[in-house]
């Protein structure tokens, strides 16, 4: 009990406590709202049981998978958000004599309280937004009341978010050595493992060959083959990008750090080098969206060709619905990426207030600091989106042929999606700009 009282005293006296406590709450709220809206929106598919239902459910599952990954990234950044500040307070607790067990208890209590508060607010937000989602039409009819997730399921989602938050807090705690003298990360900077890159390239090439064989076997690709190719290619791309993208980012940043002539370029390169993996994971959600935008663009272009022939009413609905689904998935994943960029940046600024204020004292303009962190986010974003769009093009090439991939409709769609993605991430950066200026002038 004494430990808890001490912790509360420390939490309140932390000058950054407002941001430290509110940011994760807000992030958990956003995660919960988006999760509930996604679940609500797809509930309607599982209410059907006619012969079209299975196809729809399959598509809904693909869309859900696509949304779960960026949601996970966002959830993880929310969990990491206050970790370092909390760890410093925990270190003070250790200095004052708290046991390691008491410190773990405090961690669980703090993270679950924040997540519970955030998830509750998020559930409220989802309930308020459900009528809007209800307006989205599928098979010619608005989803309506299906968009609102009933109370018991909502409670389950809230509990799930809290459980994830606590797990991630405990895991992050185990990676730290919290001694009375301070906090230190247990692991050293991981060495560059070049064989990962080699394995990654081999896996990617193998998957490509497999896809090609499948595509040929499926004779001009029935819908199931198409789905298998997309899902398989997608999983392979994501897995491989997760392995090789950090290595590529590291290579590019190393070169940039050596040759940069402008301070913001040097700073950005070094920020990426600090943890290429973190730089990648912050934008990995966009990798998927970019991959899907190519597939979707090609799909829409194909459908456009099919639409010239007569379609039955249900086929016309299917075409329209796939378009709606693609749009929603893309918007949803970009929203999540923008949020996780915003959350990560807010946490980074809160963590580095003293450095930013000292740089301002030395005479560095806040615009230079802003440009540096903008680069540190946007250049991995560029590599990521281009890389995964190229992978996607390679994967669907045997199925649809070059003419569809480079058809104006596909290209316009891909360009539009990427532009929107960059704009949203930019917004995430812009939203934290005022906070940076405040930190610098503190």
């Amino acid at each position: 009990m004494t430990t808890i009282r001490l912790w509360w005293l420390l939490a309140r006296s932390d000058r950054r406590s407002a941001a430290v406590l509110w940011l994760p709450v807000a992030a958990y709220a956003v995660v919960t709202t988006l999760l509930l809206l996604v679940i609500g929106g797809s509930r309607v598919f599982f209410s059907w049981n006619d012969d079209m239902a299975f196809g729809y459910q399959l598509l809904a599952l693909i869309a859900l998978t696509l949304l779960v990954v960026p949601l996970g990234t966002l959830g993880a950044s929310a969990a990491r958000l206050s970790a370092r500040r909390r760890d410093e307070r925990l270190s003070t607790l250790r200095l004052l004599g708290a046991t390691a067990g008491a410190v773990a208890a405090v961690t669980v209590i703090e993270s679950s309280a924040l997540a519970l508060l955030g998830a509750a607010v998020g559930a409220l937000g989802a309930a308020l937004l459900a009528p809007l989602i209800g307006l989205i039409p599928f098979r010619g009819e608005a989803i309506g009341a299906w968009a609102l997730v009933p109370a018991p399921e909502t409670a389950l989602v809230v509990a799930g978010v809290v459980a994830l938050a606590v797990t991630s807090a405990v895991v992050s705690l185990r990676r730290l050595v919290i001694s009375p003298l301070g906090v230190r990360t247990r692991q050293n900077a991981p060495a560059q493992r070049w064989w990962i890159v080699v394995v990654g390239v081999i896996v990617l090439a193998g998957a490509l060959v497999a896809m090609n064989l499948l595509g040929a076997a499926g004779s001009a690709g029935g819908p199931i083959t198409f789905l298998v190719v997309i899902v398989g290619g997608f999983a392979a791309t994501l897995g491989v990008l997760g392995l090789i993208a950090p290595a590529i980012l590291r290579l590019m940043a190393t070169r940039q750090a050596r040759i940069a002539t402008k301070p913001e370029r040097l700073l950005a390169a070094r920020m990426i080098l600090e943890s290429p993996k973190a730089a990648w994971s912050q934008v990995s959600g966009v990798a998927m969206t970019s991959f899907m935008s190519v597939v979707a663009g090609a799909g829409v272009a194909l459908m456009g060709m099919a639409a010239s022939s007569d379609l039955s009413a249900s086929d016309a609905h299917l075409v329209a619905d796939i378009r709606t689904g693609i749009l929603i998935t893309v918007i949803g994943s970009f929203l999540m990426v923008a949020c996780s960029v915003g959350v990560n940046q807010a946490a980074g600024i809160a963590d580095r207030r003293e450095l930013y204020s000292s740089l301002h004292q030395l005479g560095m303009d806040t615009s230079t600091m802003d440009a540096a962190r903008r680069r540190a986010v946007l250049s991995p974003l560029r590599v990521t989106t281009i890389g995964s769009a190229l992978c996607a093009a390679v994967f669907i090439f045997p199925l649809v042929g070059l003419s569809v991939i480079v058809s104006p409709l596909t290209l316009v769609m891909v360009a539009g999606v990427l532009a929107a993605g960059f704009a949203l991430v930019w917004l995430g950066l812009l939203a934290t700009r005022a906070q940076l200026a405040r930190a610098a002038r503190a």
């Binding site: 002539t261 402008k262 700073l267 003293e354 450095l355 000292s358 004292q361 005479g363 560095m364």
Partner: protein, 230 residues
Amino acid sequence: MNFTILSARDLRLSYGPTRALDGVSLDVQVGDSVAVMGASGSGKTSLLHALAGILLPDSGAVRLTAPDGPLEITALSDRERTRLRRERFGFVFQQGLLIPELTAIENVAIALMLNGVDRGAANQAAAGWLAALGLAGLEDRRIGQLSGGQAQRVAIARAQVTGASVVFADEPTGALDSQTSAEVMSALLDMTVARGNTLVLVTHDAGVAARCSRIVDVRDGRIVGERVGA
């Protein structure tokens, strides 16, 4: 040639009921090394920040004699003061406050790059300063891989690499043992006043203060006395 490079007149600054500066006037001659001493909370950091244009006092004026004529720092905008600090002043803080992601040489070179110097020339100058401060061979170390004294010497190099005419140091030896603190102080004096520049330094350490040419005592936001040092 001896002239007044920094001149503060009747500086006043309050934080609510706290008077951090309560009518401070101070003239600093070029080539001076001025040690500001006083109890905790007496207003030393506030004075340093007001002199350097980091914060604006509620009233009073700070004037700098720049090569192109006198400049009233307290009348400049935030932007202009930021630029002035970058171009004319150097800073050494208690904890170094170097950029942890950058290497030692990059931390020094970036001060020049901010002033538009190209990378090659900036690296060359930075390497020269590091070598002069006994840090040759440590150029590519990250800040976390340096000892406290080494990090402070990197900060000194950063403060002077731009040829700043005034270096401000806030307890630069505050986190060091007495042996290291004496070495860092020697480096600081060698790199600034020994080259004709000016040093204004806040310290709690009488031994450090004694090596400066002037010692100014501050209490409750006022200058209450002045002594001659080394």
